[in-house]
Amino acid sequence: MTMPAMQTPPQPAPPQQPLAQGTQRRRIGPLEAVGQAFSLASRNTIKLKKNPDTLVDVTFQPLLMLFMFTFLFSGAIADGDRNGYLQDLVPGLLVFCPLFLTIGTGVALCTDIQKGFFDRLRSLPIARSAPLAGMVIGDVVRYVLSIAIVLGVSTLIGFRIQTNPFEVLLAVALMIVFGLCLCWMSIFAGIMIPTPAAVPGILVCAVMPLSFGSNIFAPAETMPGWLQAWVNLNPVTLMTDVNRELLLGKGDLSSLPGALAWMAGFLVVFFPLTMRAYRRRLGN
């Protein structure tokens, strides 16, 4: 067999360091980045509209809790005062909604990364922040839906808001901000954990002590001292206190600074961790 002339690979050049990122590098303006994030957030709304099973965690789960605790456990916990128990439960359940929904954020992100949709986005000329920001903004729609449904249904079974609309809006806004701060824990998990199916299992380990180790379902005074210590520290308890004041006029806003400190804490811890993991796992 005759050997055909074979082109040898080009001669190796002396090894070079990657060029430092220069100043003339083209960037995406902040306004443009916000527009892109909103375009990506629309993905969530499309899914909610056409795929009702994605509504299960938005609607069914909190309603299940509402019914279970109001009708099944209230007799035992509140000594038969079902209506009184419901009034205390709903403000706490509204805190549970965004907290529980943050689990879905991590799962969705992990799925996008695993399926390659995330790489598709990253190969487009869009802001680096847009895919994550879009995801977070899209979640606000889920928080609002979930809060609205729980408020609506609980009103039907006897919950009554005692305050003015301004206070109610403030409560809703605080809960959305609460979700937006806590979701970074979930996003971090979504980036770090390789398979979407494993994400909820791990996040539940954080969400459970936060939601059940609080004063949402039972008064802290009924618990042993060591548990009370945690419950009184728990951001979900603090948020529930704030909600009870804003929706029922019961108590005061003394828990608000603590709640805000927790939210800031979640951001300060998980946002940089997420950014680091984002760059590492995704190669930039």
Partner: protein
């Protein structure tokens, strides 16, 4: 001709492996360049670097004249990416996916939808475009992926194993699409495990193995280097070996090699049509055979041929016949 893709000395290390060591690529604009190699050769890593998804540990690359590291946004404006790692959102329809990408590429929402419909029409997906992508067959999905990578009218298209897992019909459709794009002046970088695919589509091929470039050249050069097909016949009865050798000599002009133990005759084959003539000749001569096979150069064989001089190993067989009735 200007170079659409030029990479020098790319190195990428992962935790305990070096995925790429000192890789060079030069792809002239408007051509198809095949990157051929087995799993784990570094093909996908190279594509991900050139698509700005990974940062190389060393080396530099320019796409469309723009430095990947200095100006990634401009590079992303001119590239399209399809393959194992760039998929669509399966919950959304193809139309919604493409329209979303259009919006992200700064089209108005009306124009994004129009562009999506036009592209999906070109790919024969008009009827399915409102269905969620998860209901698509493998071939449809790949076409939708390809369509998605074309929304921004890229001048450089990366196809990462575009036909892996597709049936032959869908594969041919993808090939036709690639040819159509090249006719429009798009530069294509295609990774594949299949010599045949690279042969069908590529103007030049770079062969990767263990993260390095082991050969580079035109497809016909590589194929000759790897060795062509060979024909193998083993008559049922030993006394027919001479007769068969005569027939093979007559048909191919080569004196067949004999394996004395098994009585198997082997001869290089350039024209696959000889197979049918051979079957006919054997039947006319009354020769029954236990084995009649056409051997294709496999990737293994290609690599052996390319990496170790003169080293050809017995390839896998594609047995085409058996004992005549």
């Amino acid at each position: 001709m200007p170079l659409a893709i030029e990479a020098e000395g790319l190195v990428k290390r992962f935790k305990d492996t070096t995925a790429l060591r000192d890789v060079h690529l030069a792809v002239p604009a408007g051509t198809v360049h095949g990157v051929l190699g087995p799993n784990g050769a570094g093909k996908t890593t190279a594509v991900r670097i050139l698509a700005t998804l990974l940062t190389p540990d060393a080396g530099r690359a320019r796409v469309g004249g723009h430095d990947l590291l200095k100006d990634p946004v401009t590079v992303r404006r001119s590239i399209g990416l399809t393959g194992q790692y760039a998929a669509l959102d399966e919950e959304l329809s193809a139309l919604e996916n493409l329209a979303l990408i259009g919006r992200l590429m700064k089209l108005s929402s009306g124009r994004a939808r129009a562009r999506a419909k036009e592209l999906l029409g070109n790919f024969g997906l008009t009827d399915a475009m409102e269905r969620p992508v998860k209901t698509y067959s493998g071939g449809m999905r790949r076409r939708a992926d390809l369509a998605a990578s074309l929304v921004g009218r890229p001048s450089v298209l990366y196809l990462d194993e575009p036909t892996t897992g597709l049936d032959p019909h869908s594969r041919n459709e993808v090939w036709d699409t690639v040819r159509g794009l090249v006719a429009q002046g798009v530069t294509v970088l295609l990774t594949t495990q299949y010599l045949e695919e690279a042969d069908q589509l590529a103007d030049r091929i770079t062969v990767f193995n263990h993260g390095t470039v082991v050969a580079e050249g035109r497809p016909d050069e590589l194929k000759r280097r790897a060795g062509g097909q060979t024909l193998q016949v083993r008559p049922t009865r030993r006394e027919h070996v001479d007769t068969v050798a005569q027939i093979l000599l007559g048909l191919t002009g080569h004196i067949p090699a004999r394996d004395e133990d098994s009585g198997r005759l082997t001869v290089p084959l350039l024209d696959p049509m000889v197979m049918s003539a051979l079957v006919q000749h054997l039947a006319e001569a009354g020769v029954a055979f236990d084995e009649l096979g056409l051997r294709l150069p496999t990737m293994d064989e290609t690599f052996l041929a390319i990496t170790s001089p003169g080293g050809r190993r017995a390839p896998l067989e594609e047995t085409l016949g058996g004992r005549p009735a």
